[in-house]
Amino acid sequence: MNAGASRIHGRKAADFLRRLAGGGSSASAGPVHIRSHGDTWHLLVLFVIASMPAAFVGMLYAGDTWLSLIGSADGPVAGWRVTLLSAAGLAASGSVLNATAAGLLLLLPLLLAAMIASIGWEILFATKRKRPVDPGWLMSSWLFVLLLPPETPLLFAVIGMSFGSIFGSLVFGGTGRYIVSPAVAGALFVHFAYPAILEVDSTWSVVAGIGTAAAVDQGITWWQVFLGRESGLLGTPSALACIAGAVLLVSSGVASWRTLAGGLLGLLLAATVATGSSDTPPLSWQFALGNFAFCWAFLLTDPTTMPLTRAGRWVHGAVFGALVIVMRSADPTHPEASLFAVMIAALLVPMIDYIALRAYRWRHGSGLGIRT
C-alpha cells in the first residue's frame, strides 16, 4: 500500500469517527453565528469520564473476586481469560496489578460487544432515516456494561444492548427524545431474561441479607461498603466513586444538582419511615449498599430524562429515592430496585412537568414576567 492510499484510508477512518460523534453537517443559516462549547457528544462523553472512577473500582473488585475463585467449585470455568492470565503470570489474586488485568479482561470484551451492537443499530437507523448518527451510543453502551455482572456472556450483552438501543432509544428518535435511558432498559432486560448470570439473585445485597448489625459483627464496616466492598455489578461497588462522578457532572453543568439533592431527600424521608418497621438497614447503609449510588449519579441524571422545570427536578429525584426504599423493603429478594426506580421515575417525568407547569401558571399568570 502506498502513502496516498493509506492517507485516504486515514481520512475515511477520521470521517467515520466524526460521523459516530454526530458530526457531519456544520453549516448554519440561522441568525446565531456562535455556539457555546460542548455539543451533545461532549455532554455524553462527560458522563463516561465521570463514571470512570466507579468503573475502575468496580473492575478491580470484579477482577480480584474472579481471580480468587479460579479453581474453586463455583469459580470461573477455565477459558481463554484464565489461559491468558496464567501465561502472563497474573493469575494469583490479591495484587492490584493482577486484579486490574483480570478486570480489564472482564470489562473490555463486554464493552466491545455492547459498543458494536449499539453502533450497528445506530448506523442502521441513521442510514434508513437519512439522519446523522445519534451520538448516544457511547454513553448508553458504557453505562449498560457497568450495569452488567462481570461474567455476563458476550452474547447476552449484545442482545441486551440491542434491546436497549432499539426499544429504549432509537424507536423514540434517539438522544434527547427517549423516555427511559437505553442503558437501564437494556440492563433490566438482561437481568430479567437471564437471571442466572447474576451472582446473587435472592437478595438485593449480601450485606443487607445478613443484616447490617450482623455484618458489623463480622467486621464489615460502613466505610468498607462505602468505598466499595460488594462486587455485584461491574460499575456499582464504590459509592464514593459515584459521588465523585456526580460532583463532576454537576460542576460541569450537565447534571442538575436539584435532581441529586431530591434523590437524597427522597431516600432520607423514605428510610426514616421504613427503618422503624422491619429489619431494613439504616439510611447510611441504604446509600452505600447495592447499586443506589450508581443509579443516582449516572442514570437518574440522564439529561434526556431530565424534567423541564426546577420543581420537577426535585420531585423526580425524590420519587426515585423513595421508590428505592419502598422496593427494597417490600421485596428484598430482587437486586434491581434502583434500576426499577430510575425507570419508574423517568416514566413519571412528563406528569411531574405537567403539574409543575400548572403550578407556575397559577402563581404567575399566563404572560411572561421578569425574574428579579
Binding site: 446565531v32 434517539g174 438522544t175 460542576s251 442538575s256 423541564l308 421578569i370
Partner: protein, 436 residues
C-alpha cells in the same frame, strides 16, 4: 423607573469596539434588502438603470401600498438581484449626484405641536415608517393602527455592540424630537429604554417614561423590555418598538426636511484591525470595509453574532454592528486537546468564551444552564420543547407571542443539541397568525 435583570449571559469575545466615533466609511454602493422588513412583499417602483433621488420611493408593499421604502442616497439603481421564486433580495444603488426630495421641516417648538396624522403622513412618504416594528410578530407596523405602547430601544447589550450613548451624544436634539414625535402616534405610554447611568437625554413629558435597565444580555432587547414593564401581549400587533438610530432619523426628517443617510456602526470582532465605531451609510456595501479586517476570507456578519445575517454583503436595515468571524471559528474546540476542551467546557457556561462550531441538530437535551440565561418567570424548556415539536398552541400558552428570534438567541447559543429555537419560534408565530 429602574429594572434589574439577574439572569442572562454576556458572551465575551475578542475585539470589543472602542466606544468612540473614529472615522467615516462612505461606500460607493448601498443596497436595500426587502428581507429586512420580514413579510413585506415589494412592488418595485424603480427599474434597473434608473436614477433615484435621496428620499425617492424604491418599492412599496403589495398588500398595504402606503408602506413604502425609499432610497437613502441619490444614485443609479445598478442591479436588482432576485432569489428563489423571483423574490427580490437586493436592490443595489450606486451613489451619484446630490438629487434629493425634500419634506416639510419644522422648528423644535413646532415639532411638538404636530398632529398624529401629519406625523404619520410624513413618515409614510419618507419611508421612515418602516422603522416602527410590532410585537407580537416583529414586523412592520400597520399605518392604520395606533399602538398601545411604544418602546424606544436605546440600550444595546449584544456581544460587541456599540454604546448608543456615543451616537446619541452627537444627535441629542434629533433623538429628543424623534421621541416626542413618535409618542404622539401612541395612545398609551412611550417608554425610552436606556442603560442605567447613561447620559442619553429623554424628554420630560406626561406620556414618556425613562426606563433604566441593568444586567446581562437580554436586558437590551425589546422583548425583554415588554415583559419587564408588565405590558400584556395580545394577538393584535399593538405594541411597537423602534431602535435609537431610527428615532434619530425621524427627528432629523422633521427638523431638517431630508431623509437622513447616516448610520453609526461598530466594526468589531476577532478579525477587526481597529475595533471601533464608524459612521457609514444605511445598507452600505460591506465589501468596501475590506481594509478593516485582518483576514480576507472570514465570515462577515451584519448585526450581532446572536441575531445577525451572514455571510453578508450589505449592512442590514436594523443592524448597528458588523463583525467578522475568522474562517477557523473562534477557538474551534475540535482542534483542541481533550484537556483544553474540558477546560473550555467548564468556562463556556460562564460566558467567558465562545466558539463558532456548529454540529448537526439532535433531540433537545435539557440542562440547568437554560434557566441561568432565561430572564422570565415561566421556565424556558417547556416553551423550547413546544417550539421544537411544532406545538404552537402550547408555545402560545408558555408566552411565545411576545418574543422574537433574538429573544431566544441565547438559548440557541448554549443549546448542546444545536437546535435553532429562533427558526422554530418564527414557524410557531406564522402558524398562530395563519390559524388564528
Amino acid at each position: 423607573m429602574r429594572i434589574e435583570l439577574k439572569h442572562g449571559l454576556d458572551i465575551r469575545l475578542p475585539g470589543a469596539p472602542m466606544q468612540r466615533m473614529d472615522g467615516t466609511v462612505d461606500t460607493t454602493r448601498i443596497a436595500i434588502l426587502p428581507a429586512d422588513y420580514r413579510d413585506l412583499r415589494p412592488a418595485l417602483a424603480v427599474e434597473s438603470g434608473e436614477r433615484v433621488a435621496a428620499g425617492q420611493r424604491v418599492f412599496n408593499d403589495r398588500r398595504i401600498p402606503a408602506l413604502a421604502c425609499t432610497s437613502p442616497v441619490s444614485g443609479i439603481v445598478t442591479s436588482i438581484h432576485r432569489g428563489s421564486k423571483r423574490r427580490i433580495q437586493e436592490i443595489v444603488i450606486e451613489r451619484d449626484g446630490n438629487a434629493e426630495i425634500t419634506f416639510p421641516s419644522y422648528s423644535t417648538a413646532a415639532v411638538c405641536k404636530l398632529s398624529a396624522d401629519d406625523i404619520r403622513q410624513n413618515l409614510l412618504a419618507s419611508g421612515l415608517w418602516l422603522s416602527l416594528r410590532t410585537r407580537p410578530f416583529d414586523r412592520a407596523a400597520s399605518p392604520d393602527d395606533r399602538p398601545r405602547a411604544l418602546l424606544v430601544t436605546a440600550i444595546d447589550t449584544n456581544p460587541l455592540a456599540p454604546d448608543p450613548a456615543v451616537m446619541l451624544h452627537d444627535n441629542a436634539d434629533a433623538f429628543v424630537a424623534g421621541v416626542k414625535l413618535l409618542a404622539r402616534l401612541c395612545t398609551g405610554t412611550t417608554f425610552v429604554c436606556v442603560a442605567a447611568g447613561t447620559s442619553i437625554p429623554v424628554p420630560e413629558a406626561e406620556h414618556i417614561r425613562r426606563v433604566e435597565l441593568t444586567g446581562p444580555h437580554p436586558a437590551g432587547l425589546p422583548g425583554t423590555h415588554i415583559h419587564a414593564l408588565g405590558l400584556e401581549v395580545r394577538r393584535e400587533a399593538d405594541l411597537w418598538h423602534a431602535g435609537y438610530q431610527d428615532v434619530v432619523d425621524v427627528g432629523q426628517l422633521f427638523l431638517v426636511g431630508r431623509v437622513p443617510a447616516r448610520r453609526v456602526i461598530a466594526v468589531a470582532g476577532p478579525c477587526a484591525r481597529r475595533p471601533r465605531l464608524v459612521s457609514t451609510l444605511p445598507g452600505a456595501d460591506l465589501g468596501e470595509f475590506a481594509a478593516e479586517w485582518s483576514e480576507a476570507d472570514g465570515k462577515l456578519v451584519s448585526g450581532s453574532l446572536l441575531a445577525g445575517r451572514g455571510p453578508a454583503r450589505f449592512l442590514g436595515r436594523f443592524d448597528n454592528q458588523v463583525t467578522m468571524l475568522p474562517s477557523t471559528g473562534v477557538g474551534d474546540y475540535r482542534r483542541q486537546s481533550l484537556l483544553a476542551r474540558l477546560a473550555a467546557f467548564f468556562r463556556g457556561t460562564n460566558g467567558h468564551a465562545a466558539v463558532s462550531s456548529i454540529g448537526a441538530a439532535g433531540g433537545m437535551l435539557p440542562s440547568e444552564s437554560f434557566e441561568g440565561i432565561w430572564p422570565f418567570h415561566v421556565p424556558p424548556m417547556p416553551l423550547l420543547r413546544a417550539l421544537l415539536s411544532e406545538d404552537a398552541e402550547q408555545a402560545e400558552q408558555f408566552g411565545c407571542l411576545g418574543l422574537a428570534e433574538e429573544d431566544l438567541a441565547l438559548c440557541t447559543y448554549i443549546c448542546a443539541s444545536r437546535n435553532d429555537y429562533g427558526a422554530a419560534l418564527r414557524a410557531a408565530l406564522n402558524a398562530i397568525e395563519r390559524d388564528g
